[in-house]
């Protein structure tokens, strides 16, 4: 097998210095090595967006990036959103209040894409939300309540 690659990466504020096999996807690194199972493995080919996390603040499909590429990077996953005491992040609260999820499989990706949008555009219009979340598939909600949730989270801040 090819040599492992040394990677110093910060995930949700915690520094990790690890050796990874080159073919380890960021998604599998998070789920299998760090036990952060919030990013979901959906299509594993970049179509569904359920594995979206932030890499250096940018929404990124973690199934289309290798952990070996992350040396020096900062990764933020859905696990970082709620407070340790369980208090929900404003975007999470907006999703619960506006019925922005049903089965919840797509929700971590939706939340991370929404957080990235709200950083650039704190008070988005529905059209901004639709564009920013267009790469995230949901098979339950029909999207209306997801858009409503993100707009509500923006209105609140």
């Amino acid at each position: 097998m090819p040599d492992k690659v040394r990677v110093a990466v910060t995930v949700n504020g915690t520094a990790h210095d690890v050796l990874v096999e080159p073919r380890t996807l960021l998604l599998d690194f998070l789920r299998d090595e760090l036990a952060l199972t919030g990013a979901h493995a959906g299509c594993e080919q970049g179509a569904c967006g359920a594995c979206t996390v932030l890499v250096d603040g940018e929404p990124t499909r973690s199934c289309l990036m290798f952990a070996a590429q992350l040396d020096g990077a900062e990764v933020t996953t859905v696990e970082s959103l709620a407070n340790p005491d369980g208090t929900l992040h404003p975007v999470q609260r907006a999703f619960t209040e506006n019925h922005g999820l049903q089965c919840g499989f797509c929700t971590p990706g939706m939340l991370m894409a929404a957080c990235a949008l709200l950083q650039h555009t704190p008070h988005p219009e529905p059209s901004d939300v639709r564009e920013a979340l267009s790469g995230n598939l949901c098979r339950c909600t029909g999207y209306q309540n997801i858009v409503r949730s993100v707009v509500a989270a923006g209105a609140e801040s």
Binding site: R23, G46, T52, E58, R61, A68, A132, G135
Partner: protein, 293 residues
């Protein structure tokens, strides 16, 4: 499925990357944004034994304007092209096309050069490059050469790049003529998906409103992105009206040789080639006329 094993190299300079490519040749693949390549690796349609990650080569991230051309480096993100004033002002057809590539989160990682080098016959950027008369700068340890877009795309997912060559940049001429307009239009089944057909048109009108220059390129309707040369010839020196645009659309459709699939039949794609060519030309002409005002 998961990717097959490979060795990972992360060069810091173009020279280092080219040395790796020279050593490993067709066993190796350069990794830029990874939005196409990693997908293929995850499904094992691509199984390179060496991956040369060029994302740490800072000099390749630049978008610049020099000597009448816009230069887009190999790891400049699609999103950066979309917002770059060099691209928006200098080669608006490319900016308009890049805004229609996939989704915002994909464009934040995906690169313009990577999309061109991937040479998907349905993709927007190869077609926009063709209409804009751009070229690919290819480098290897043997030296550097420019490959015109007209010669670059040789078939589905294949290009004129040699196995030891790296596409280090795109160079796209900025149109100096005042009355130049362009448009990129596409039709896809779902927002953000690859189009069933897309058309890029760049047109320059002379002082009398006749067509001085025109380039039309199409994606999704052939085994590679194509020029609609008969349509271009029919437009040259003419004053475009509805009837002429209709005829140009029909000529573009006859240049198409589409393959039907679950997204659209061959007949439907041919129909789209005609309709979208007409629409792209109409929009490009009205933009050219606006620029005169």
């Amino acid at each position: 499925m998961k990717p097959a094993p490979f060795a990972y190299l992360a060069p810091r300079s173009v020279d280092e990357a080219l040395a790796h490519l020279a050593e490993h040749g067709s066993e190796a693949r350069p990794l830029a944004g990874g939005q196409s390549l990693v997908r293929l690796m995850n499904t094992r349609l691509a199984t390179p034994s060496v991956l040369i990650d060029i994302n740490r080569i800072d000099e390749l991230a630049a978008i610049s304007r020099e000597n009448g051309t816009v230069r887009i480096g190999a790891v400049a993100r699609q999103r950066a092209c979309e917002t770059s004033s060099h691209v928006r002002d200098g080669v608006p057809v490319f900016a308009e096309a890049v805004g229609q590539v996939a989704h915002p989160s994909v464009r934040r990682r995906g690169t313009a050069v990577g999309s061109v080098a991937f040479a998907d016959p349905s993709a927007e950027l190869p077609t926009a490059l063709l209409a804009a008369d751009g070229e690919v700068v290819a480098a290897s340890t043997r030296g550097e050469r420019s490959i015109a877009a007209d010669d670059f795309f040789t078939g589905p997912f294949t290009s004129a790049l040699a196995p030891d060559e790296l596409a280090v940049a795109l160079r796209i001429p900025v149109s100096a003529a005042a009355r130049t307009g362009s448009a990129f239009v596409e039709e896809s089944r779902r927002h953000g998906e690859l189009p069933m057909c897309g058309v890029a048109a760049v047109i320059t009108l002379d002082d009398d409103g006749a067509v001085a220059q025109v380039r039309i390129a199409l994606c999704g309707v052939h085994r590679r992105p194509i020029r609609a040369r008969d349509a271009e010839a029919a437009l040259l020196s003419e004053h475009p009206d509805d009837e002429l645009l209709q005829a140009a659309g029909a000529l573009a459709a006859s240049a198409a040789d589409p393959v039907g699939d679950c997204h659209g039949s061959a007949a439907f794609r041919r129909h789209l080639a005609a309709v979208l060519t007409r629409r792209a030309l109409a929009t490009a002409i009205s933009r050219a006329e606006e620029r005169n005002a």
